[in-house]
Amino acid sequence: MDDAATYGAPPAVGSDRLRAVARNAFPFVVVGAIWEIVARSGMFPRQLFPTIEDIARSFVDLTVSGILPHHAIETVFRLLGGFGLAAIVGVSIGVLMGRSRRAEDIILPLVSILAPIPGLAYAPLFLLWFGPGEVSAVLLVAFVSMFAIIFNSWTGVKAVKEIWLRSAMAMGADDRRTFRHVILPAALPYILTGLRLGLAQAWRILVAVEMLAAVPWGLGWLIFGAREFLNTDAMMAGIVVIALIGLGLEKYVFQKIEDYTVVRWGMMESMG
């Protein structure tokens, strides 16, 4: 974007951007048109296959009435709660494993046993142990996203270049400061990758967790509940919001953090 602003004359930039928008919009127009034709053809009942108009109306109605935002906010908070917990616990365990051979020997087998089971499979167990509702949902999300964070933090700390440690030692850094000023920043590309993967996993299962855990609000619950009343349009509106949040997390949260740290340091290429 900077390049275009510096090197391109303003009108050319405008038309280029317009063309890019048109090119990106085209496939959606095609798919939308097909959807609309099928919906209006009467091949399927309108209730099960709503027109785009229905979906849009439902989206606007639910947004204006505040129902959709409420669901979305609850979901985001639940995500952040679970993910935040996973980030704190996961990075701590991973870094500990990377620093101490003994911790690695003890923790790695346990983690390796628990990790290959898809997180959602633990859901019924968590529901029995912690009861249906918020606690189970948050703990489950945290548990599921923790493994990617642990593995990547562990790898990151182990991958710190020997030469950095030597340089730091030669310049008089003690263990504590070597950890803070060398090991942590050096492991950061891996830790961020782990957090990114963890968040993606948390996001992928949160919706299902909300369906299973019987929480009173949340997008997963919204679309699951809408099924009872054949509110396919509300369901689709919910899915749209889920897609937007997913996209926003990826594009605006992690990419920004990476651009400000590891990309600026030349330790990782920008994903954008």
Binding site: L120, L125, T193, R204, F224, A243
Partner: protein, 263 residues
């Protein structure tokens, strides 16, 4: 310290750690602090697992789950790989699919479960389609990246040696992109495995490992739950390590193409 002594110590510590964790669980379970149905003692879980394996019910559930996952995964390869290749080779295809893929990818497959339940009812069709949806994107995305990253030098060299378009494709592009394609398959299977368990919990009837776990919640049969968890873990592990691991060893490792497409 020598290497083998270190390795032995790692092994001993690992075994001790697992034994300690199991003993701790067993102690909590026996202590009666919590209702025993919620924390079944380990021998009970093992007995249940053995019983279900012996009378064939576990195999039936595992079979149903594997059937769903393999069909969905196979469909995902059949659809994702060609689209990924076409996207990398033809700009027009890329222009059409890339925006769609970027928009659909962040939608978790589970959010489509209720919709598919309305459309296709509960059972095989819905679960297979959810698996398909979950697995297609990693397959497509990795193939696309892989084909684009084929070293242009190889193409030029093969062209100079008289390879035509078709042979260029099969002899250079496909093997060149294979580390990414294999990584894509690995990721796709992982996603499929997660998707099938979740989809079965919400939308399956009568059979499947996910279904049996969720169903036993109703009757507080935590021993069945845990026995099924073990089976899920073992199958996932076997595919991840043995199947994909050996594919990798037979191809990209042997060629010295270290996994470039890690992640």
């Amino acid at each position: 310290m020598t290497d083998s002594a270190q390795r032995r110590r790692t092994l001993i510590r690992g075994l001790l750690s697992i034994a300690a964790a199991a003993a701790f669980y067993q102690a909590v379970s026996m202590a009666g602090l919590f209702p025993k149905v919620l924390l079944p003692p380990i021998p009970v879980v093992l007995t249940t697992l053995w019983g279900m394996l012996a009378d064939g019910t576990m195999l039936q559930h595992a079979g149903a789950t594997l059937y769903r996952v393999l069909i969905g995964f196979g469909l995902a390869i059949a659809v994702g790989t060609p689209i990924g290749i076409a996207m990398a080779r033809f700009k027009a295809v890329e222009n059409f699919f890339l925006p769609l893929v970027s928009a659909l990818m962040p939608i978790p497959s589970f959010s489509l479960v209720p919709l598919f339940m309305l459309w296709f009812g509960i059972g095989n069709v819905t679960t297979i389609l959810i698996v398909f949806y979950a697995a297609t994107f990693p397959m497509l995305f990795n193939t696309w990246t892989g084909v684009r990253s084929v070293n242009p030098l190889w193409l030029r060299a093969a062209g100079a040696m008289g390879a035509d378009e078709r042979r260029l494709f099969w002899k250079v592009i496909v093997p060149g992109a294979s580390p990414f394609i294999i990584t894509g398959m690995r990721q796709a299977f992982l996603r499929s495995w997660i998707a099938v368990v979740g989809a079965e919990m919400i939308a399956a009837s009568d059979f499947g490992l996910g279904w049996v776990i969720f169903d036993s919640k109703e009757f507080l049969q935590t021993d069945i739950m845990m026995a099924s968890l073990v089976v899920i873990g073992v199958i996932g592990y076997v595919f991840e390590r043995l199947v994909f691991g050996s594919i990798e060893r037979a191809t990209v490792y042997r060629w010295g193409m270290v996994r470039m497409a890690k992640g």
